[in-house]
Symmetry: C2
Subunit: 384 residues, 2 copies
């Protein structure tokens, strides 16, 4: 059986005020090309289909169109779960009706927890769709208040699968979780840590033929070859600048032995970090592609007039402009960052935020406005 | 062929800060009972499935569950369109996949505009699903900039149907619009009046076997027996207090002749207007049912201490408490209302709003807070 494993689409994602819709549309068109070429028997989407519980309507349209193409035109079953970014209630709309067309979209842990079973010439493969759930929900379903961590929740779910199924048959776990050993990047939100660690021990999954994971954005295996994150379809943060995004093709044999191939996903615009002096950057050769999403670090010390405006004429998709500070100050900054922040006044904290986002220091009249607003609120707080 | 016609579900509706979810859930359970008893060949939902473009998740769940029951358990095809309250983009999610299961949900006017054709022993019946669209969209589709009103848009759509189809066969128009002759209530939002009247002349539809309309909340025929609003499933405003809500059963014969029956929908809590003196109301017999949603008009002149709090102990679902003013003042009020409002200060306007909503005058400390907030904003506006 041939599986195509993807995850973390984050449709509707906004990075530094820029909507990624066009990039997502482009990459999902490429995704469909890959599906046509690879002709997998089943497609797995391991959570975070949307970036937030109420996605923009363009994201709703894009997901609807993509799923419809896979189900109707390509006639390949889809097994999808919700991630920590999705709204289980909203994403669930119509899911019972979808099932009859081969779209299995589980957003809540069902009482029954029946796997979706598909067959190849060697027999059945059981796919366990485990959407992202808080430990408390698992505690509730099993009526076991001792379940307080993601680890305990996973243990319980696995114990239950072991009890009810013949693990000598081929089983696939589809989950959206943080398995110990995985590497984080900035654009994944921390999972709930109520009651302790968000991690799940990967060793728990040794009896599965394959474990298809979502949540971490970098494609990677976790402690064993058959436990994998497919990674996201696009870079969603500059911390992901060195990732090679891909989808994972899994070939599973009669015994449940698996082999893998990663098919790269090439975006219409890449993420790139560029460092240099303003004058050098203005010649237009500093980036791999002037249309890339750029994080620019300016090395200049002195004053520059509207560097963002001028650079944007050459590099239209700058997401972040950073002024490099003198190295002494930089060291100090790094050492004292956390400490400093705690001591900053509201005004200074906002000014620093403003500079971070706009790449320019906050103008005096805006600073005054913030000061007056903060003072007003403080007065109110003191009950006038 | 037996049609069941409903419309204006407005799932997620909030009336005076009260979520109608529980009432809607109850009435849709009754609706399912009616469907089971009547066993129609098809169910028509003529728009405004939701009350707003981003409905609360409980409404999404309720719609999903109800449609799933009809499609999967009862196996009756559903023909639904979006109304002016629905978001065409959001409601469209998965609609291509739903079609193959007998759920036809049109939220946008398609280029093709193919009707859904169902058959009985006498031959085909063509259902034209016309979601609520602005005249400009129709102008765009037909590349005809002379279309500026809902009337012109309907004329164009009908002309097109006449050109492409044999009108001697049986045709049904499913629309969400304001047909001339219909009676408005307060809870319908006015349709777009860009370019003039929102009305469409009912006479246009004479060649249809049946015209299934949504938008007006009172069940009614419009100028002819075969042109009907089913009305909403619940009362959504005190202006609808005298409506008898129902679904419409349509029996259509070989010739396209129709006969009708209205099946009443009885809510778990009715809307009721109650008028009387505070002391009399406190005996608990003033309302048909103490659990009804009440608009109470108090006839007392003098001061009352927390009448809302006291009345709510007996009538828990008061939505509106009105103090009747002396008749001289009342007349004056009515005459000068519009004029008065324009002259009111922000503070007085807010105080009047507060009293309207809470049924009590605004306490001094809250009034002072509003005053200080308004002054602060004004200062800001003057540029400090």
């Amino acid at each position: 059986m041939k599986l195509l494993h993807t995850a973390d689409w984050h449709l509707g994602k906004i990075v530094n005020f820029v909507h990624m819709t066009e990039d997502q549309q482009y990459i999902l068109d490429r995704f469909i090309d890959i599906v046509k070429e690879e002709e997998p028997d089943v497609i797995i989407i391991a959570g975070d289909l949307y970036d937030r519980s109420i996605p923009p309507k363009q994201a709703v349209e894009l997901l609807s169109r993509t799923l419809t193409t896979i189900i109707h035109e390509l006639e390949i079953p889809v097994l999808a779960i919700s991630g920590n970014h999705d709204s289980p209630d909203r994403l669930e709309f119509g899911s019972q009706i979808f099932r009859r067309q081969g779209l299995f979209l589980d957003t809540k842990l069902k009482e029954q927890r029946q796997p979706v079973t598909l067959h190849d010439q060697h027999g059945p493969v059981h796919f366990h769709l485990i959407p992202y759930v808080e430990p408390a929900e698992v505690a509730h379903i099993f009526d076991d208040s001792s379940i307080k961590t993601h680890q305990q929740a996973a243990e319980k779910l696995l114990e239950d699968i072991n009890d009810r199924f013949d693990m000598k048959e081929r089983h696939v776990w589809i989950g959206h979780a943080f398995l110990a050993g995985g590497m984080e990047s900035e654009s994944e939100e921390r999972l709930s840590m109520i009651g302790g660690s968000p991690y799940i021990d990967a060793h728990l999954f040794k009896d599965f033929a394959y474990v298809a994971l979502g949540h971490l954005h970098q494609p990677q295996r976790v402690t064993a070859d058959h436990i994998r994150y497919s990674g996201s379809i696009l870079k969603y943060s500059f911390s992901e600048v060195n990732h090679q995004k891909s989808v994972t093709i899994v070939e599973m044999d009669e015994q449940g032995q698996t082999s893998f191939e990663k098919i790269p996903l090439h975006p219409v615009r890449d993420f790139e970090i560029v460092e240099g002096f303003f004058e050098d950057l203005m010649d237009g050769n500093a980036a791999e592609d002037t249309n890339n999403y750029l994080h620019i670090r300016l090395l200049d010390d002195g004053q520059l007039i509207d560097p963002m405006g001028k650079l944007r004429k050459i590099y239209p998709n700058i997401l972040h402009l950073e002024r490099k500070r003198s190295s002494n100050k930089q060291q100090l900054d790094e050492l004292n960052k956390a400490k400093e922040r705690q001591q900053l006044s509201h005004q200074d904290l906002f000014a620093s935020f403003y500079e971070d986002i706009k790449g320019d220091s906050i103008p005096e009249h805006r600073k005054a406005l913030i000061t007056s607003a903060v003072e007003y609120l403080r007065e109110k707080e003191r009950g006038q």
